[in-house]
């Protein structure tokens, strides 16, 4: 992989348009002059509740310029005995208009793309409504926006690499309208595992990061070994086990005594970033909250209030390295408008989030999520679950994977 690339991860796993699930319905040819009456009556006595995308009437042009109409009477029942299980009202209608029913297939779900819809109509006509929400990027990124996405992802990867002794997940919340970092965070589960009983890491992303670690160490760019040699001498083998979202259950297997260190099994990078952005919101717009006496600093300290010397607090933007293009959210132009939670903001994560983090990002109203590496065993945005496709949720974000060129791991981005 040599170039940067952004891939949209759709709400539903791609299925071949001609393999969409279908259901059986009972239909009948009708005389066109009764069409209106019949359809009106059928909509009353036999509404197609879960098949709103399916059209009641199918029109077919036959030889001699004539049109032939068929109408759906009702759903076919699961067992074979169709006529007996049919509703009395429908049967009466059938008898009085002398209809001869037949069973046919219609597509079970509304089409999600034009291709699916065209395929559906070959079976029985349906209606197609393109997605009503339109989030920038789903249909492609401009060159300028792409560059901005790559820059923020590069920044997130730097954070993940530079955090203490081992590779962790990093989260960057961005206001894309002003291309500004709102807040950043790294995992705070403090899951520095001993290398003995580790899951074998075979995913390519981990190999890449391993490559990065060895390179950066030899380059002296980020020399983890010397910085943290006291507490974690054998860190070179620890790799991605520190990424909370990849191994959310693993904190409990910790053998070493971590009682002196701040840790919390649920403080994944995304959760910490959300907390930090909420603290920022309360700080910037204090009048709207109930607790006005609490300062931003106090709030930020709260999460690490164990008072341990090994604080792992990485939540606020003061940790931002010198990247001139990335400005702090605080005290700058964004003061004027206060968004509701993170409405309109983007989230950059190095790894695909677990289901806890993915749902937290729904709650906090993030607009788009970008991640670089999939999370094959616990990922919630396409790998194991696909939360962006859960239609019952009250908020939906768009999800993108950012493909990262190999060389970002071998030299400082």
């Amino acid at each position: 992989m040599d170039t940067w690339q952004i891939l949209h991860i759709p709400d539903n796993p791609p299925i071949a348009p001609d393999q969409q699930p279908t259901v059986d319905v009972i239909a009948s040819l009708i005389d066109p002059k009764f069409a209106n009456t019949l359809v009106r009556r059928l909509n009353q006595i036999s509404p197609l509740e879960n098949l709103r995308h399916v059209k009641r009437v199918k029109k077919k042009f036959v030889e001699g310029g004539k049109t032939q109409l068929s109408v759906i009477l009702c759903l076919a029942s699961e067992n074979g005995n169709q006529l007996e299980s049919m509703q009395n009202d429908v049967q009466e209608l059938m008898n009085s208009y002398k209809l001869s029913p037949f069973i046919t297939k219609v597509c079970k779900y509304a089409a999600l793309s034009k291709e699916e819809w065209e395929e559906q109509c070959k079976l029985w006509p349906t209606s197609y409504h393109p997605p009503t929400y339109n989030i920038d990027g789903i249909t492609g990124f401009s060159e300028e926006d792409s560059q901005s996405v790559f820059r923020f992802m590069k920044y997130a990867i730097q954070l993940a690499k530079s955090s203490d002794n081992l590779v962790v997940n990093a989260a960057v919340i961005v206001d894309p309208s002003v291309k500004q970092v709102i807040t950043t965070a790294c995992d705070q589960t403090c899951s520095s595992y001993s290398p003995t009983n580790k899951i074998t890491l075979e995913t390519s992303c981990c190999e890449k990061l391993e490559a990065f670690i060895s390179h950066s160490d030899s380059d002296g760019v980020l020399n983890h070994q010397t910085v943290h040699s006291n507490s974690f001498p054998d860190k070179s083998k620890q790799l991605c086990t520190g990424v909370s979202c990849l191994y959310p259950w693993q904190w409990a297997d910790q053998q070493s005594d971590m009682s002196s260190c701040y840790w919390h099994p649920l403080r994944h990078a995304a959760i910490v970033a959300i907390e930090s952005s909420a603290a920022r919101d309360r700080y910037l717009f204090p009048s709207l909250g109930k607790i006005q006496d609490k300062s931003f600093e106090m709030d930020n300290m709260q999460s690490s209030s164990a008072g341990s010397p090994a604080k792992r607090q990485k939540t606020n933007s003061t940790n931002v390295h010198s990247d001139d293009n990335l400005t702090n959210g605080e005290g700058s132009s964004s003061l004027s408008a206060r968004p509701y939670l993170c409405t309109g903001f983007d989230m950059y994560l190095v790894w695909e989030p677990c289901i806890m983090c993915a749902m937290a990002l729904v709650h906090q109203r993030i607009r788009r999520i970008f991640f670089a590496f999939p999370n094959p065993d616990a990922g919630a945005l396409g790998s194991v679950h696909r939360l962006q496709g859960e239609t019952s949720l009250n908020h939906h974000y768009a999800v993108f994977r950012v493909l990262v060129p190999q060389q970002i791991f071998s030299r400082e981005g």
Binding site: W249, D253, D257, L266, M356, M359, A360, E390
Partner: protein, 203 residues
């Protein structure tokens, strides 16, 4: 109440009522009315209620609050990670509303023993309503045994119980905003029913 007493083991009802008390506190603070308690060996060791409005952090659900309270306690006692994990595996959670997908995952990650909830959550529920994070076959999502949830009949009875409780306490104070929260966020349909029938409120 006496008929309910026969239906449940005593402590289940007791703990659920304590969870409802927490939901009530949330209402007083104009928060979404969800509350919970965490119980170890028959004793309540932590409680929590929604604080999403106050914190402007939409992830501060009752369960997360209670979990954080416990971790803080245990941190002060200098419990190790394995000790914490072991204690969580003995704990039961009683919560008024089905944990959302985020909380269900969090409860699974910490390895809580059992979850009892009052009413289902058809928008975000993570224990069967939308996703079934408690019973995935691929991963031991909740270690130490599957969570016990109420049957739909029990849920109905608890719902009306919550409804009566909230109704009694908050007939006068409830603002329309809170009622909207009730309607939209907690799916306590029978609360609304009770409000309607017993107080004659227009919803």
């Amino acid at each position: 109440m006496s008929s309910l007493g026969e239906e449940y083991p005593d402590d289940t009802l007791t703990f659920m009522l304590l969870a409802m008390e927490q939901a009530k506190v949330a209402i007083d603070c104009l928060e979404v009315p969800v509350g919970c308690v965490i119980v170890e060996d028959g004793k309540v060791i932590a409680s929590g209620r929604n604080r999403t409005t106050e914190t402007r952090n939409a992830t501060r659900h009752a369960e997360m609050e209670a979990i954080d309270t416990l971790l803080e306690q245990w941190r002060e006692k200098r419990l190790s990670q394995s000790e914490v994990a072991k204690t969580f595996s003995k704990c039961k959670l009683y919560v008024t509303c089905e944990p959302c997908i985020m909380c269900a995952a969090a409860l699974s990650f910490i390895g809580i023993k059992e979850v009892f909830y009052g009413c289902g959550n058809d928008k975000f529920g993570g224990c069967g309503s939308i996703l079934s994070l408690h019973s995935s076959s691929s991963e031991p999502l909740i270690s130490g045994g599957a969570p016990r949830v109420f049957t739909s009949r029990e849920i109905l009875m608890l719902q009306s119980l919550i409804g009566l409780l909230l109704n009694r306490q908050h007939n006068e104070q409830c603002s329309n905003k809170v009622l909207d929260f009730l309607k939209v966020c907690t799916s306590l349909s029978s609360i609304l029913q009770d409000f309607k029938t017993e107080s004659g409120w227009k919803l």
